[in-house]
């Protein structure tokens, strides 16, 4: 597929024309949420303007169109990660996806161990921590190396015959570390444990092939990959999903309901109770299609280049501490020594630069790093070197003010 030029891509994102404080906006917070291309915005509008109806209900034309669009969105998302459409459950996002597994499958686990890491986002920590409390399970954690990678030196001890679940972030939202999920999933399986990947920062940025990775579950969000908020997905292996109890009960997820018992709908609808986020799902599908059109390889390459450019520039600056390994996904977390990340982002905002400052929903990781928080610049397909140059100029201004 032909690589689209940078300008063509930027033209698809109307928000990039905005001025902030009279300056050209530089959006460097795509790890929090990405901007949306006009194709996604139009698809959502098109649904509400032209074929708004509930899905899986009416036999009239509008409902048929809505159902078709909503179902084919599952196909688009599934093919992005090489899954079967019935293995893709739409949720409201990564958080709900992980909670679904922790409740529906986790509740059955009565004894054993859950293995996580110290770099988990709260959404892949708290659901397991609370499951461990409910069912009296033991929580274990991969430690981290000084470089910000998983410390695998004691993996044989961490994953053992008592391990029931291994749930790890695919790509760290703070360190940018890309974890070897395929290798760890293999070891988990050898010990009859299930492997779950939190790929909220993976699917939008790197090639994810669930068959090749051989993970049991993979969770991700639409809004971090050019889609709308309030929609995301849980991939699960068909044979495991079929065994699992539904997470929520109600309309659309049933096959037959009697007063005292019910049977469940087929996959994935068994896990999508109630009227779903139809417009969100349709937008999510268009976002997946957009990514496929650009090509995930091209996205990965583009981010690799821009993150290297940014890394080198930041590394040249005095009093900048950068967190995470050299080989990283498209983000850089850093601190200017002695200056709080909120002050950094506040001053950058004056120059129209949007970056995130804080603990990034990773308080245990911050504790591990011995910091209260840090600043994070995260990149996506629409960012260019000019954005990085503006960031560097802004950071010089921060240092001047705090001199």
């Amino acid at each position: 597929m032909k690589l689209l030029s940078m300008n063509e891509i930027r033209e698809d994102f109307p928000i990039l024309n905005r001025k902030i404080n009279g300056k050209r906006m530089v959006y460097l917070d795509s790890a929090a949420t990405s901007q949306k291309p006009v194709q996604v915005i139009k698809a959502i509008e098109d649904y509400y303007r032209n074929y708004n109806a509930n899905v899986h209900r009416g036999i009239y034309q509008l409902s048929v169109e809505a159902t078709e669009a909503y179902e084919s969105a599952h196909d688009e998302v599934a093919s992005l990660i090489n899954a079967n459409p019935e293995e893709i459950i739409f949720t409201k996002g990564t958080t709900e996806s992980l909670n679904l597994v922790a409740y529906s499958l986790g509740n059955r686990i009565r004894d054993g161990e859950i293995l996580l890491s110290k770099m988990e986002h709260h959404s892949n920590l708290v659901p397991w921590q609370q499951l461990a409390k409910r069912n009296n399970l033991k929580l274990k954690f991969f430690d981290l190396t000084d470089d910000g990678e998983l410390d695998l030196s004691n993996i044989d001890e961490l994953i053992n015959k008592n391990t029931k679940i291994v749930s790890l972030t695919h790509v760290s939202n703070v360190l940018g570390t890309i974890n070897p999920v395929k290798e760890i999933a293999k070891i988990a399986h050898e010990n009859n444990a299930l492997f779950i990947a939190d790929s909220a920062q993976g699917v939008p940025h790197i090639e994810v092939n669930v068959k090749n990775l051989d993970v049991d579950f993979l969770a991700f969000s639409g809004h971090k990959m050019l889609g709308p908020t309030g929609i995301g997905a849980l991939y699960g292996k068909k044979e495991i999903l079929e065994e699992m109890d539904p997470f929520m009960f109600g309309g659309d997820m049933i096959r037959e309901v009697k007063l005292n018992e019910s049977t469940w709908n087929t996959l994935p609808w068994k896990f999508e109770a109630g009227t779903p986020n139809i417009s969100g799902g349709i937008g999510f599908g268009v976002a997946a299609k957009y990514i496929k059109r650009i090509g995930i390889d091209n996205i990965e390459n583009h981010e690799k280049n821009i993150v290297k450019y940014a890394y080198d520039k930041l590394n040249e600056m005095d009093n900048v501490e950068i967190y995470g390994p050299e080989k990283r996904s498209g983000l850089i977390s850093f601190n200017l020594k002695g200056i709080h990340a909120h002050d950094v982002s506040s001053i950058l905002d004056e120059s129209g630069i949007a970056i995130r400052g804080g603990h990034h929903c990773c308080m245990p990781l911050m504790e591990h790093l011995g910091i209260a928080g840090n600043a994070r610049a995260s990149f996506y397909i629409y960012n260019n070197e000019e954005d990085v140059d503006t960031l560097v100029k802004g950071l010089e201004e921060v240092k001047r003010i705090f001199k």
Binding site: H340, H342, D343, D349, E350, G358, M363, I401
Partner: protein
């Protein structure tokens, strides 16, 4: 303009916070967090005859949260509990005399929240409670 908030007196309080540290035997000690950014302020108060006899704070956070707490404590030392209870967020904004965005207002008010909640805890549980 955002950068106007980084005025000289604010930077001075941030770099040289007054009343920084903790009291050895406080009447009440209390910690508040800003869950948004993880900022944290711990205050220890010595209260005698309904008045703040001594007060100190520790914490880490942005310049706005630290400077406003430092300024607030300077203002509160020696005041009666009733006077503290009557302090409003407007008093804090006036004290800082800068324009803050809604998000940064939360930073500026972390000190006041900590102080007021410390007083509430003191009133509810009495002397020597932490």
């Amino acid at each position: 303009m955002t950068n106007e908030i980084y005025m000289e007196n604010i930077m001075d309080h941030y770099k040289n916070p007054r009343n920084f540290g903790s009291l050895e035997s406080p009447t009440v000690k209390h910690i508040e967090y800003n869950p948004l950014c993880g900022d944290k302020i711990e205050m220890s108060l010595l209260i005698e005859n309904g008045k703040i006899k001594d007060i100190k704070f520790k914490g880490n956070g942005c310049s706005i949260s630290q400077a406003s707490t430092s300024m607030l404590l300077e203002m509160s030392n020696g005041k009666s509990i009733d006077e503290i209870k009557n302090l409003t967020k407007e008093d804090v904004f006036e004290m800082l005399s800068i324009n803050l965005s809604p998000v940064r207002m939360k930073c500026a008010l972390l000190g006041l929240d900590t102080l007021k909640n410390a007083i509430l805890i003191h009133e509810k549980y009495g002397e020597k409670n932490e």
